[in-house]
Point group: C3
Chain length 158, copies 3
């Protein structure tokens, strides 16, 4: 087991939880750790590229996709969302305090070499295709996750 290896499962698509995940992940990577983030279920929405579209979706898959937040700019808050006012307020307060925003955090995560893996089973169930995701994302299953997590000293489920 390695103290300098960490994994995070991003299950949620709540802006606040996703931010916590990226703060921990980029913090660790900046300190030299090897970090893998595994995006599953609602967490997949973080990786959806707002400008990309996929062909050949069924009606249900399209409907499901339309009801979920498409990309990192659209994420709700887990509490005090108030139909989207909460996230705007939070972003405003973050900007005032010079805290890095999520889109920049994700860019930084990729520059720091953080491995971002999209869960293949969730993609299949929710009808999300690889061509809808942001660049630089790998696809993997539970075996991928378990392989990484078994080696890592810190494993979080967010």
């Amino acid at each position: 087991m390695r103290e300098d290896k960490k994994t995070i499962i991003v299950f949620s698509n709540d802006m606040d939880k996703v931010m916590a995940a990226f703060v921990i992940a980029t913090g660790a990577a900046a300190m030299g750790d090897e970090v893998t983030m595994f995006f599953t279920f609602w967490g997949l929405n973080v990786l959806r590229d707002a400008k990309k579209k996929a062909q050949g979706k069924s009606f249900l898959e399209k409907m499901f996709g339309a009801m979920m937040p498409k990309g990192v700019e659209k994420l709700p808050l887990s509490k005090m969302n108030f139909l989207g006012i909460g996230p705007k307020l939070m972003k405003y307060m973050m900007k005032k305090k010079n805290v890095m925003m999520l889109p920049e955090m994700i860019k930084q995560a990729q520059e720091l070499g953080i491995k971002m893996v999209a869960c293949s089973m969730s993609m299949d169930v929710m009808g999300i295709k690889k061509e809808e995701l942001i660049d630089g994302v790998e696809i993997g299953g539970v075996a991928t996750y378990l392989g990484e997590a078994s080696e890592a000293g810190v494993n979080l489920f967010i």
Copy 2:
């Protein structure tokens, strides 16, 4: 500490989170790991047997029990539940993609020898009795959990 040992606390009774817990648990057990799942608070509802009843409950305990989902077929989604339409839709999409359903996952977990522990303190507070739970479940407290987790390399709270 052992790389081949894992524990998962199932705190939530959301269908999606419980599924994530069982996908990880059965995946690890199938690869030869020793896995303990610890069900606490709302997670206890996963272990309630819809066909079993307990005697000697107080009025409050009965009321509490009636308001919570009884068993694995009744679990809500953490997001987009839409009064129960969400879980049905999710199950439909899972069936179409040949993904294993929760009841089968639980059966598989037991066949793979995953240890399933119900939290004694939560049972006491919520008034859930052993005779209401599915077969093969052990009862344990926080010391049981800590003993297992201290030895395990991967410990998740879901």
Copy 3:
């Protein structure tokens, strides 16, 4: 890595989740483990002292603070909150079963030497000041957390 060291991130301010965090933390500390609890985002509300006030807050910070639960007595339930009836019912059932209440658990945590750290970045974004927090709390950032977690055998995100 040390089997006798544990960290818990308390991200949520739901009474049920916070209780789970303190049951695990105090259980581990009572068995001789070194435990660090890291309070971030909504979890900061657990550490707010209902009787303390801070000067020099902006309008937005005051508003944000007023909308969040101030202190451990005001926490909602993650499920079945019913406008505050759920938490009261839960407390009633806990008292009947002689389960320790949250305020006592926190006191016990401090007596057992559990290190309680408030996340500096979240405090900054949400406008929560040190003088509003209960006594005995340290302030720290993600590096503090990562330093502790890398050494610990059990790391949970709650």
